[in-house]
C-alpha cells in the first residue's frame, strides 16, 4: 500500500538533511511501528508523507497504492486515503468540532466523487463512533481541540480517523501525554479500525503503546535512516536495552 523509496529530505529554509534515504514498504492490512531516539527523523517522515510545508525532497519518492503522493496537495493525499494523527493536534477556536468533522468528511467524499453525507446520516455516524471513544456530545460541540485535555485531543484524532476511514493511517506519537486508561481507549479505537485493506504506521518512542496495538513489523530509525527491521520482539529489545546498544550494534 505505502511504498517509500530512498526518501531524502532536507529543510527548505536551511541546509539540513533530515531524512537520508528511507525505504519502507507497508503492505495492505499490516501495522508497522517506527521507533527511534529523539531527532532521528520519525516525525519528519510523517510530515513529509502528509504534505506539510517547509521540507524539500531531494531524492527518492513515496507512493500510495501506486500513486505518487509527494506531488499532491495535503487535501489530495487525504482524499487518496492518507491520514496523519498529529502529535500535537491544533486548536481552532471558533470552529465547532462537529462542523470541522463534517466539512472534512464531505470534502473527501466530494473529492472522490461520492455523495455528501446528509446531516442526519452524519450525526448518527459521528455519535456512534464518538461513543466508542468515550467522546461526549459536549466535546463534539466545543471548538476544535480548544480546552481539550491531552487525552481528549488524542481521542479526537482517532475520532477523525474513524470518521474519515483512511486506507493508510500514520500515527505520530499518539501515546505521548496519555495516561494508561486513555492509551487503552486510543488503542481500542485503532484496533477497531484494523482491517485487511487498511494499514498503519505507528510512530512511538516507547514499547508501551505496542502492547495495545500489536505491530506486524517494527522498524528502528536513527539519523534519518531505517537501521533495523524486525518483528514485535524488536520493540521489546528496545524497551529492555535502550537504543544505545542496538544502534552501536548496527554501527549507526
Amino acid at each position: 500500500m505505502l511504498e517509500v523509496t530512498n526518501l531524502q529530505v532536507k529543510l527548505e529554509e536551511e541546509d539540513k538533511q533530515i531524512l537520508k534515504g528511507v525505504t519502507l514498504t507497508i503492505p495492505a492490512g499490516e501495522v508497522h511501528a517506527i521507533m527511534g531516539p529523539n531527532g532521528s527523523g520519525k516525525s519528519t517522515l510523517s510530515y513529509v508523507l502528509s504534505g506539510r510545508d517547509g521540507y524539500e525532497v531531494t531524492e527518492g519518492g513515496a507512493t500510495l497504492d501506486g500513486a505518487d503522493i509527494l506531488d499532491m496537495e495535503p487535501e489530495e493525499r487525504a482524499a487518496a486515503g492518507l491520514f496523519l494523527a498529529f502529535q500535537y493536534p491544533v486548536e481552532i477556536p471558533g470552529v465547532g468540532n462537529m462542523t470541522f468533522l463534517r466539512t472534512a468528511v464531505n470534502a473527501q467524499r466530494k473529492a472522490r466523487g461520492e455523495e455528501e453525507l446528509s446531516s442526519g446520516d452524519f450525526l448518527r455516524l459521528v455519535r456512534e463512533k464518538a461513543k466508542a471513544l468515550d467522546i461526549d456530545a459536549e466535546m463534539l460541540k466545543r471548538p476544535v481541540n480548544v480546552g481539550f485535555s491531552g487525552g481528549e485531543k488524542k481521542r479526537n484524532e482517532i475520532l477523525q480517523m474513524a470518521m474519515l476511514e483512511p486506507r493508510m493511517c500514520i500515527m505520530d506519537e499518539t501515546d505521548s501525554g496519555l495516561d494508561v486508561d486513555a492509551m487503552r481507549l486510543v488503542a481500542d479505537g485503532v484496533n477497531a479500525l484494523r482491517s485487511p485493506d487498511r494499514s498503519f504506521l505507528v510512530i512511538t518512542h516507547y514499547q508501551r503503546l505496542l502492547d495495545h496495538i500489536r505491530p506486524d513489523v517494527v522498524h528502528i530509525m536513527s539519523d534519518g535512516r531505517i537501521v533495523r527491521t524486525g518483528g514485535p520482539e524488536l520493540a521489546l529489545e528496545v524497551e529492555q536495552n535502550g537504543y544505545g546498544d542496538l544502534l552501536s550494534e548496527e554501527g549507526a
Binding site: 502528509s50 504534505g51 506539510r52 510545508d53 496537495e73 495535503p74 487535501e75 493525499r77 487525504a78 482524499a79 491520514f83 496523519l84 498529529f86 493536534p89 491544533v90 481552532i92 477556536p93 471558533g94 470552529v95 470541522f100 466539512t103 472534512a104 468528511v105 470534502a107 473527501q108 473529492a111 471548538p143 477523525q160 474519515l164
Partner: protein
C-alpha cells in the same frame, strides 16, 4: 434662507474662536470656507437651536486635516470633498434578517421611504421620523438632538458629526418606554449613484427599557450617519449592524452613547468592502454599574479598488464599577488597510472600572496593513484595564492540519478566518442574529476566496 443662517453662525464663530477650549485636539484651524459655505441646514423646527450650535461648533473646529492627530491614518480628503464621486450600483438589496419578525424601516439613499416601511408602531416604542419630530414644538428630541454629539467633541474634535447635526434632514427619532417585543430594523437601499446621504438618528431609552436595533444595507455614494443613544438607568440597547459598501463607496458614521446606572449598550458592526469607511464610537459611562460593549468585524478586499477601514473608539468611564469592552477584528487582503484607534479613559473616582480592549488584524497577504493605536488614560487607582493589539498571518500549522483532513485550501482559509473573527462575533448575544452575521461573513469569504488584484467583485 439657509445661507443667511450659516453666515450668521460663521460670524459668531469668528467672535468666539479665541474662546475654544484648549483641550480640544485637532480643532484649531480656520474652517475651509469652500464646503462649509455650501452647507444647507433645515430651518425652524424644535431642533433649530441645536443645529445652530452644531454649525457653530463645526465652523470653530473646521474640517479635519491629514495632520490632525486622529486623522493621521485616514486621509479626510474624500469626506471633505464637496460631493462624492458617483459609484456603480448593483441591484442586490440586503437580505439579512429578512426572515425575522421585526419592524422594517426603509431608507432609500438616506431618505425615509414610508411606503416600503412597516407602520411605525411597536408596543412600548414610539418611532417618528426626524422631520415629524422636528415639526412638533416642545418635542423631547430637542433636549437630546446634538447634545450627545456636542459632549463627544471633547477632548477629540469630530467635525463631521457636528456637520451632521447641523445639516441632517433625515433620520429616526425613537423613544423606548418598555421592552420592545421585536427588533427595529433599519434597511438602507441605494438607487442614486451620486447620493450624499446624511442621517441622524436619536434613540432615547427610558428606565428599564429594552430595544434591539438592526441596521443593514448601504446608501449612496457617500454617507454620514450619526446615532445618538441616551440610556436611562437599567435600559438596554442591543445594536447589530451589517454595513456593506460598494468598492468605491465612502462612509462615515458616529455613535454617541450616554449610559446611565446599570444600563447596557452593546453594539456590533460587520463591515464589508467600501473604499474608505470610518466608524467612530464615543460612549460616556455616567452611572454606576453600567456596561458598554462595542465590537466589529471588518472584511476588506483591495482587489476591486482601494479598501480602507477605520474604527475610532473612545469610551469614558465616569462612574464606579463600569464595564467596557472593545473587540475589533479585521481581515485584510489585496492591499487593504485597517485602522484602529481605541481609547479607554477612566476619570478620577471611577473606581472598580473593568475596561478591556483588543484589536487584531489578520493579513492574508503581504500587501495589506493594519495600523493600531490603543490608548489607556487612567485617573483612578483601583481599576482593571487591559488592552492588546496583534497583527498576523494565517497560522500555517492550522492550515496544514485542516488540509491534512481533506479540507481544500480555500475552504480551510475560510474556516480559519471564521475562527479569527469568532471573538468579535461572540459579542452578538442573540444566537439567531449571530448565525445570520456568521453566514453573511462566510458568503463574503467564499466570494472573495480567490480574488486577486483588479479581478474581484463586490459582495
Amino acid at each position: 434662507m439657509a445661507d443667511t443662517a450659516i453666515r450668521a453662525a460663521e460670524r459668531t464663530a469668528q467672535v468666539t474662536r479665541d474662546e475654544v477650549t484648549p483641550d480640544v485636539i485637532g480643532g484649531q484651524q480656520p474652517a475651509p470656507a469652500g464646503r462649509l459655505a455650501t452647507l444647507e441646514a433645515p430651518q425652524g423646527g424644535c431642533t433649530a437651536g441645536a443645529r445652530r450650535d452644531a454649525m457653530q461648533r463645526l465652523v470653530q473646529m473646521g474640517l479635519p486635516k491629514p495632520r490632525d492627530e486622529y486623522w493621521r491614518y485616514t486621509d479626510p480628503k474624500l469626506f471633505n470633498a464637496d460631493a462624492p464621486a458617483p459609484i456603480e450600483i448593483d441591484d442586490r438589496d440586503p437580505q439579512m434578517f429578512s426572515t425575522m419578525n421585526r419592524v422594517k424601516l426603509v431608507f432609500v439613499d438616506g431618505a425615509f421611504d414610508a411606503d416600503a416601511s412597516d407602520p411605525l408602531e411597536l408596543a412600548g416604542v414610539t418611532i417618528e421620523t426626524l422631520e415629524q419630530a422636528d415639526a412638533q414644538p416642545g418635542h423631547w428630541v430637542a433636549g437630546v438632538y446634538g447634545t450627545l454629539e456636542a459632549a463627544g467633541q471633547k477632548p477629540v474634535a469630530r467635525p463631521f458629526a457636528a456637520l451632521n447635526s447641523a445639516t441632517a434632514r433625515q433620520g429616526l427619532v425613537i423613544r423606548v418606554t418598555g421592552e420592545a417585543p421585536k427588533p427595529v430594523h433599519i434597511i438602507h437601499l441605494r438607487r442614486d449613484p451620486a447620493a450624499d446621504a446624511v442621517l441622524h438618528h436619536v434613540l432615547k431609552l427610558d428606565e428599564g427599557a429594552d430595544l434591539t436595533l438592526l441596521e443593514t444595507g448601504m446608501s449612496g455614494a457617500r454617507t454620514n450617519d450619526v446615532i445618538e443613544v441616551d440610556l436611562a438607568p437599567r435600559a438596554r440597547l442591543h445594536h447589530v449592524a451589517s454595513v456593506r459598501g460598494n468598492p468605491d463607496r465612502v462612509g462615515l458614521r458616529h455613535m454617541f452613547g450616554r449610559v446611565d446606572e446599570e444600563a447596557s449598550l452593546k453594539s456590533f458592526i460587520l463591515s464589508l468592502n467600501g473604499s474608505q469607511m470610518r466608524h467612530e464610537t464615543v460612549i460616556d459611562i455616567v452611572g454606576d454599574d453600567a456596561v458598554a460593549h462595542v465590537a466589529g468585524a471588518v472584511l476588506g478586499d483591495g482587489a476591486a479598488g482601494p479598501f480602507h477601514h477605520d474604527d475610532t473608539i473612545f469610551i469614558t468611564h465616569g462612574a464606579e464599577r463600569g464595564e467596557s469592552r472593545q473587540v475589533y477584528k479585521k481581515v485584510l487582503k489585496n492591499g487593504a488597510v485597517g485602522v484602529f484607534q481605541g481609547k479607554i479613559l477612566v476619570k478620577p473616582g471611577a473606581q472598580k472600572t473593568d475596561g478591556y480592549q483588543i484589536s487584531q488584524a489578520l493579513l492574508l497577504d503581504e500587501d495589506s496593513q493594519f495600523l493600531a493605536k490603543p490608548e489607556l488614560e487612567i485617573y483612578a487607582d483601583d481599576v482593571k484595564c487591559s488592552h492588546g493589539s496583534t497583527t498576523g498571518a494565517l497560522d500555517p500549522v492550522a492550515l496544514y492540519y485542516l488540509r491534512s483532513r481533506g479540507v481544500p485550501k480555500e475552504r480551510a482559509v475560510v474556516m480559519l478566518v471564521l475562527s479569527f473573527v469568532a471573538d468579535a462575533l461572540a459579542e452578538v448575544e442573540d444566537d439567531e442574529l449571530r448565525a445570520e452575521i456568521s453566514d453573511r461573513l462566510e458568503l463574503w469569504l467564499n466570494r472573495h476566496a480567490v480574488s486577486a488584484p483588479k479581478t474581484g467583485g463586490a459582495a
